[in-house]
Amino acid sequence: MDSFIGNLELGFSTALSLQNIALCFAGCLIGTLVGILPGVGPIATIAILLPLTFQVDPIGALIMLAGIYYGAQYGGSTTAILVNIPGEATSVVTTLDGHQMARNGRAGIALGIAAIGSFFAGTVATLVIAALGVPLTRLALVFGPAEYFSLMVLGLAFAVVLARGSILRAGAVIFIGLLLATVGTDLQTGDERLTLGMVDLMDGIDFAVLAMGLFGFAEILRNLDNPETRDVVQAKIGKLLPSKADFKQAALPVVRGTLLGGALGILPGNGAVLGPFASYTLEKKISRTPRRFGNGAIEGVAGLESANNAGAQTAFIPLLTLGIPPNAVMALMVGAMTIHGIIPGPQVMTKTPGLFWGMIASMWLGNLMLLIINLPLIGLWVRLLKVPYRLMFPAILLFCCIGIYSINNDPSDVLLTAFFGFAGYAFYRFGFEPAPLLLGFVLGKLMEEKLRQALILSRGDFGTFVTSPVSAGLLLLAVLVIVVAIIPTVRKGREEAFQE
């Protein structure tokens, strides 16, 4: 315990230097803005800003880059709530209830609870990293291909629960998502699959392209088609900050979301993506009034926003303690560290304790700054809804296009997004929801990879998924989730809940 406090002291003394506070603030501010701009993700931003950090010492540079990363997680939710566009994979579910809250005139409350929930989650996650980071690394090592595959199956089960309407439609949409995930080069043989001979599809479809199309572009088409719905958002602004009753409703979901998101964030291979989905499913299942979900339930925003932020932070654990990046942003952080002459690995903690603990302390500081940056901005963002839509939608479109182009510097990505925009509009007209499709897509890639790795390692024996207790447990849980989701359908049909 003494060393724990001593370490945190060392960390704060590093993080609280004037220069590092300024860098942390700059990172958080840039991150927030980047997150708010639809399509411009933290990866492109960190890559662009990397050269600017050459002038600063490594710890300062890393503090700033980390700030951009979790700042973007914050900002992404703002766009999801206000204009129904998920900037990141993790804010897909935020659109479900967050945007509904905005439509009900509770945009300010949604943004407020997202910011406060995220701060709580960030604080807890920072303490967890500081206290348990090293032992928790083992969790990442327990998860081999078989365990990971079963986790993904559980994730797909969540997707079914996520759907507001008929399970059959949800299943169909998830399946399309899985199929889209198979486009690209085969992992094992290197052959092209379903690319229609197009070189641009050789590496598959980018998540942002699909998400911007199905949500961003399609939402604009939908709003232009149907002027009443968008006027609703403009007419009602309502209160800016959550009330006591709101807090009461949100408190437990925040705690549960933090735990769930934090645990999933540690896993390798972008486990953090699952956090918000899992939290949403959990809240919807244990709620006494599950029908409110999808119509602006505050629990649906509070829980998953906390899960999102907790996962974003704990994703640093494998990077800091083991030197293994769990996702693309962390891989970029590895690059940033190596450019600054620090090779990430188990020795970072012992060789450069100031850097290690300084970074952890700066994360808490960054979360505090994000709260300070974001709470006053809520009023501004909400007022943004008053901007006439004829001015708003060209701006959104433009930023989406810039963002998509910046991912891979590839114009064909923008065209592909337009295609998915039309597809998303068609989905909407025929009453299919895009959120389960995105989850199916995100999980599909990982699922195929892990399935094949597990089967190659077991020489084709499917028993590998049940002989590992962790994997068997996860599969059992997946079956349970699906059964629980199907029972009410069988009993009374769930169609009545499906209306826009």
């Binding site: 890559a47 050459f54 090592l141 081999g144 290197g190 690059g335 190596t338 891979n408 790795q453 390692l457």
Partner: protein
């Protein structure tokens, strides 16, 4: 009619001459605006880090910013294809790689560029040595024993690589072909997950670049059998070379080199080469590259001509190895 044709001919000739004149003038003032360097791999990877470190110093020398543009995909060939098709004016250059300019012709039958013909080589930047590593409890104490065990195990051994066409894939194909084993090859989508599962003991061995491995080897999380360079690396002085360990022919490095599109004016290529050489002599840049475990070119190996010959050798060397390793796709195009 004839007159009209003549006018067109004269006009064309004048225009061509004018263009040629301006392009010479341009080459002399080069560079007057920022230069884009295409890195065909994701930001943060070894090639990207090398490009950024070298590019930063070259920017100072050229007095124009070198902007890194990461164009990923298809084992790096997407970015290099775009670079090869860019205007040959020196404002688009690229960081080529052992994969894109050595192994690619064998791996991708539909490749839309020829590494030996479609580029003006600028110069070698840095190479990263390849290590043969295994899970820490693998029952072999040195490389000789390891090879013997692999030979008896054959497809019972699990070799992990970071995807078809990746450095770990091609270099381990060479290793397997050389010692005559056919292990079970487990594909991953990057080096991170490979190392993760190797530390967890789920896969047996891999070949990869030193920069990804040093901290794990130092911490004793994985075991290194040999380094495929003529001399030991200062970053891992206890790891023997392949020559010392009994496999002297296994010499391989993931090299990174700067290329310009074909027909880039010679003065421009010379300027770029001079800036690159200056970067490699800069103590700060040198230290950063060496800290990464990099091997830097010296003397003749820094010239454009040497790089051109080296690319031809690499293509000639990799094609039969990858064919023997069964990695070459059936030609569908």
């Amino acid at each position: 009619m004839k007159q009209a044709l003549a006018v067109v001919a004269v006009a064309t000739a004048t225009l061509t001459a004018a263009t040629a004149a301006t392009s010479t003038a341009r080459a002399q003032n080069y560079p007057t605006r920022p230069i884009t360097m295409i890195v065909p791999f994701a930001a943060g990877g070894p090639t990207d880090v090398t490009a950024r470190i070298v590019g930063e110093n070259m920017s100072k020398t050229l007095a124009q910013q070198i902007v890194i543009e990461n164009v990923t995909g298809a084992g790096g060939t997407t970015g290099i294809t775009r670079g090869a098709q860019a205007a040959p004016n020196g404002y688009t250059i690229m960081m080529g790689h052992m994969g894109t300019h050595g192994a690619a012709p064998a791996l991708y039958p539909k490749l839309r560029y020829d590494p030996t013909k479609d580029f003006e080589p600028v110069g070698m930047a840095a190479g990263t040595p390849i290590l043969i590593v295994a899970r820490k409890d693998y029952p072999a104490k040195d490389l000789k024993e390891f090879i013997a065990v692999l030979k008896t195990q054959q497809d019972k051994a699990n070799e992990a690589h970071a995807g078809v066409g990746s450095v770990s894939f091609t270099t381990c194909t060479m290793f397997n072909v050389m010692i005559g084993v056919k292990p079970t090859r487990v594909p991953y989508t990057g080096t991170g997950p490979v190392i993760n599962d190797m530390i967890a003991g789920k896969v047996d061995y891999a070949c990869d670049q030193i920069v990804n491995l040093v901290p794990q080897i130092q911490a004793g999380n994985i075991r290194a059998y040999a380094i495929a360079t003529p001399e030991r690396s200062p970053a891992l002085p206890e790891v023997p070379t392949t020559k010392e360990a009994g496999l002297p022919d296994y010499q391989v490095s993931a090299w990174n080199a700067v290329f310009a599109p074909k027909n880039t004016p010679k003065p421009v290529v010379e300027k770029l080469n001079a800036a690159l050489v200056k970067a490699l002599d800069d103590p700060g840049t040198r230290k950063r590259l060496l800290d990464l475990g990099g091997v830097l070119p010296e003397g003749e190996a820094r010239t454009s001509a040497w790089l051109g010959e080296y690319v031809a050798q690499e293509v000639a060397r990799w094609t039969p190895i990858l064919k023997a390793g069964g990695a070459v796709q059936a030609d569908s195009g």
